[in-house]
């Protein structure tokens, strides 16, 4: 499964990236908020932006950001399209199958649905052999989908490690969680999710919310996941064209699943002031929004014959009778501009970037930016990450890392080569966050309490030890520059060097003591003889302890 990695290219670009900022990159977007009035020290601010707007610092990043200035760095990250990203581009070359279009994909694998289609058009009835073949096709499709999904998850993790466009990657994580799609639903979820990541989420990650919402609404991934692809006008409703005979015979009808989550989880929020009646009306408005069969490319189609063309009322607005796809578009317009949506999205972003309990005043200002800019995500994020609340003392290192953040930040700190094998993504999954593996549409938790419990701490500790032991592809403590520099140094210098490299100034004196002495005076109850295993590289052991420490679980 492992593809050959253009290692030389990657190393070259990594080295280039580690150089001090080139002057032309430090384009002078004026800071929107005066640096004064921030509670965090200058050094804390540098660390803070790298922990929140990026997946943690790589060696050299602290110095780069300090040289460029925190505000200039933020402004630059907010315009990822202007950041050259040779490392990220080189990485994507390692995933050629993720570049294929859905149509191409279905054209190549699996062919049999097309065969069946041909046979049906030829008028032949489906035989028992056909159905057996059909079962095999579905299995084959599932396997192909799983393979793609593995690559997609690997790409997500590797790109978060490697890309220069860190904030964009953070936003991809935000939106793919906000618009959660579960890969276990249906045989083609893997195929659909490739396009979902590449064509739906990424182009709009810092764009307009309405565009993002519209792209999601037309995505096969979401249409299938939340069943809208199956929803159609109830048999007694008027449609724009005669119903296909098969649909009429099956007497299918409305499915409210997507409509409800669209209101509850994607836009207004559960307290956004909608009723069960609104859910049904939104579901009616979205009838006919479905997908073509795989044999015909599998993409979005609007089917007038399945669309409920009756008049509707959504959130007090009237949708006249006799319309088609405009119904759904108008609903998305209404939702994207609704004040409850501005508040809901602002809260979500503030929770991600600032605090599990975001300050209401900040949320109000971010929601105001959302309304004023007609849902310009870039500007909402700018309001949040340049605010005094973002740089408050209480905010500093107050968020608990998600498993993805934990893994990626560790790999970045150790200057790992991005891993194009499935291995690292599997580690993220084992830590409790399989990408595209969250079954319910609410996505993974966004607050610390949900991530931290007994079992989770153990897995996180295990992860730190595994990384230090060189068990993950692309990471080696021995090749890591700080370790090389510290190799012959006295113990105290080694401890301080490792703590500085991995935790900045954040290690508590207690942690330093434990690392320094290998014992803890506070731990009177340390019982049982500790087995003396074969001596490990003392520097690797220190790295394992630092990555498994309570401090490294925070950002």
């Amino acid at each position: 499964m492992a593809r050959p990695l253009p290692i030389a290219a990657l190393l070259a670009t990594l080295a280039a990236a580690a150089l001090p900022a080139q002057p032309r990159l430090a384009t002078p977007a004026p800071p929107t908020v005066a640096a004064a009035g921030r509670e965090q020290t200058r050094d804390q601010q540098v660390r803070h932006v790298l922990d929140r707007l990026a997946f943690g610092p790589r060696p050299g990043d602290i110095e780069r950001v300090r040289a460029m200035g925190v505000d200039a760095w933020i402004a630059r990250q907010l315009t990822p399209e202007r950041i050259p990203d040779p490392t990220g581009d080189a990485l994507m070359a390692g995933f050629p199958s993720l570049a294929l279009s859905l149509d191409d994909r279905f054209r190549h694998t699996p062919p049999p649905p097309r065969l069946r289609e041909t046979r049906r058009r030829g008028g032949a009835a489906l035989t028992a052999a056909d159905s057996a073949e059909r079962r095999r096709d579905r299995q084959q499709a599932r396997r192909a989908g799983r393979q793609l999904l593995g690559e997609l998850a690997s790409m997500r993790v590797a790109r978060a490690v490697a890309t220069e466009r860190q904030l964009e990657e953070v936003m991809v994580d935000v939106w793919e969680n906000h618009f959660n799609v579960f890969a276990g639903k249906g045989p083609y979820a893997g195929q659909y999710l490739v396009g979902f990541d590449r064509d739906v989420i990424r182009p709009h990650a810092l764009g307009r919310f309405r565009d993002l919402l519209g792209a999601v609404a037309r995505s096969p991934a979401m249409l299938v996941y939340l069943d809208n692809a199956q929803s159609q006008a109830t048999p007694d409703a008027p449609t724009l064209a005669p119903r296909p005979r098969r649909a009429a015979r099956q007497r299918r009808g409305l499915n409210e699943n997507y409509a409800r989550e669209l209101l509850e989880l994607h836009t207004l929020g559960v307290d956004g002031g909608y009723t069960q009646h609104d859910v049904i009306e939104v579901a009616r408005a979205l009838t006919g929004w479905t997908i073509a069969p795989p044999a015909q490319g599998g993409g979005f189609v609007f089917r007038p014959a399945l669309h409920d063309a009756g008049a509707k009322t959504v959130l007090g607005a009237s949708l006249p009778a006799g319309r088609g796809i405009e119904d759904g578009e108008q609903v998305l317009d209404l939702l994207a501009r609704h004040p409850a949506t501005a508040r809901f999205i602002a809260t979500k972003l503030a929770r991600r970037f600032v605090s599990d309990t975001p300050p209401p005043a900040l949320v109000a200002r971010a929601a105001e930016t959302f309304r004023r800019t007609d849902g310009d995500i870039r500007e909402v994020v700018r309001t949040i990450v340049t605010s005094p609340e973002f740089f408050s003392a209480a905010t500093y290192r107050s968020k608990v890392k998600s498993p993805l953040e934990l893994v990626v930040s560790a790999l970045r700190a150790l200057c790992a080569e991005p891993d194009t094998t499935p291995r690292t993504a599997q580690v993220v999954a084992r830590l409790g966050q399989p990408l595209f593996g969250h079954q319910a549409p609410d996505g993974y938790p966004e607050t610390g309490e949900a991530w931290i419990n007994g079992g989770a701490i153990l897995k996180r500790i295990d992860f730190g030890l595994a990384v230090a032991a060189g068990a993950l592809p692309g990471v080696s403590v021995r090749r890591w520059a700080p370790a090389r520099e510290l190799a012959g140094a006295p113990r105290e210098q080694q401890v301080d060097g490792i703590l500085h490299a991995l935790l900045g100034g954040a290690a508590s004196p207690d942690t330093r003591q434990v690392l320094l002495r290998g014992e803890n005076p506070l731990l009177a109850r340390a019982d049982g003889p500790t087995r003396r295993a074969p001596a490990t590289d003392p520097l690797a052991a220190l790295v394992g302890l630092a990555l498994g420490s309570p401090e490294f679980q925070r950002r």
Binding site: Q230, R260, E449, I452, L545, P550
Partner: protein, 420 residues
């Protein structure tokens, strides 16, 4: 927000308001270890996604049922193929639940019908939240009702001996809402995972030291609980466990989690509350009838629980298993041979102390005027009446008003499904 005061040995009283230092509340509980004597156990199993109660406990004596569900209805028990398993001439079990029938006949199992949340929500997430916090229509509730039980019973005012770190265990990736709160709870997907691998040299001791530095935040507190629990589990040696009485657990995650709950019960590590969940019940499309999607979920569900009962043998006298799902589904099948979100649902109570062998709860009927909002099974039993009886009678909780704040019910509302 509902916060309260916890007292440990009368020495430490913490009033928590505003910013919630939950780690302080947690450390108030984190202390020495003991293996609790054989005691009562409550096992809660959550069917996430809203199980279709009308196809789980089938009202085959109700003519409306077959009218509402022409393609997905479960055939009458008399049917030659795929017939429901009759219980009392009116209700029957889905055929995939056949392993429940012997338990029902022995009086160890009681289905409870038309039970659920009085809230009108049809949102999975809200409804799960309400069921787990035990406060319908109140989303601000900080903790789950199982945790409030743990926090009010035994450990605080009367904490002569501190509780076992395995007093509350969730066989889940993350701590479920129902166990969130001040009392410690362990979440894990496997007992085997509950150890530090690669701990060469003195790494384990030093890592433990890192989490026992006296810092009292969320992460340190969770770490301390972890190391306590690890030590205890090591002593119990679960790796050598074999199920008893020929119990045959399904290989599914659900089956394996039940197996490990049985291990913990039998290892006498002081387990009092166990929780597991199982998904796949959100059958909007092609849910199937006697066979198909829902049937496959139910088969795994029933086989797992039946194996658990077999494995525990006489120990089931101390154990109450309670199954739950956030709401039921529409009485009428939808346009895609599935069912959309509904209202009242069904639960199962299983255990040696269960007064089973009968279907509990008042049946509201399925005629149009009997349905809730013209579409769903109506609710006749508030889920809090069931939970209240479970903690009150089975576990002997004495402060129901603290476990279910805002609930006006009394023991008079209990269904009398379990012995004291």
């Amino acid at each position: 927000m509902h916060r309260r005061v916890f007292v440990k040995s009368g020495a430490l009283a913490l009033v928590t308001m505003g910013l919630d230092p939950s780690f302080l509340r947690r450390t108030a509980f984190a202390a020495g270890l003991r293996a609790a004597p054989r005691g009562r156990v409550l096992v809660c199993l959550f069917q996430r996604g809203a199980a279709d109660a009308l196809n789980v406990v089938v009202p085959h004596g109700e003519a409306e049922y077959y009218r509402l569900r022409p393609t997905i209805g479960i055939p009458r028990p008399s049917a030659r193929e795929g017939g429901a398993v009759d219980l009392d001439g009116f209700f029957a079990l889905h055929p995939a639940l056949a392993p429940f029938k012997p338990l029902y006949d022995r009086g160890m199992l009681a289905p409870i019908h038309a039970v659920g949340s009085p809230s009108a929500t049809r949102s999975h997430f809200d409804a799960q939240d309400y069921m787990e916090t035990g406060t319908p229509d109140r989303k601000g509730t900080a903790d789950g009702w199982l945790n409030r039980y743990l926090a009010t019973a035994g450990t605080c005012e009367a904490c002569a001996t501190p509780p076992s770190p395995f007093r509350a265990v969730a066989m889940t990736e993350q701590t479920p809402r129902i166990l969130e709160g001040p009392a410690p709870a362990v979440a894990m997907t496997s007992l085997d995972a509950f150890t530090i691998r690669r701990a060469g040299g003195d790494a384990a001791a030093r890592l433990e030291a890192l989490y026992r530095t006296g810092s009292a935040d969320l992460i340190h507190a969770a770490g301390q609980e972890t190391f306590d629990a690890m030590r205890m589990l090591r002593d119990a040696d679960p790796q050598r466990y074999r199920p008893a009485n020929g119990a045959d657990y399904p290989r599914s995650p659900f089956g394996q989690r039940l197996r490990q709950i049985a291990q913990l019960v039998k290892a006498d590590v002081g387990l009092e509350i166990a929780f597991a969940d199982v998904g796949g019940w959100d059958t909007h499309v092609n849910q199937g009838g006697a066979t198909g999607q829902l049937a496959a979920r139910l088969a795994d569900f029933a086989r797992g629980i039946a194996a658990f009962v077999t494995d525990l043998g006489d120990r089931m006298d101390d154990v109450l298993v309670l199954t739950m799902s956030e709401f039921g589904r529409m009485a009428r099948e939808n346009g895609t041979r599935g069912t959309d979100h509904g209202h009242a649902g069904a639960m199962f109570a299983i255990g040696g102390g269960v007064r089973g062998g009968r279907v509990l709860g008042r049946w509201p009927g399925l005629a149009r005027e009997q349905l809730y909002e013209d579409r769903d099974l109506a609710l006749t039993t508030d889920f809090r009446a069931v939970f209240d009886e479970a903690v009150g009678r089975h576990l002997g909780a004495t402060q129901p008003e603290r476990i279910f704040p805002g609930y006006a019910g009394t023991p008079g509302d209990w269904l009398d499904f379990v012995q004291g």
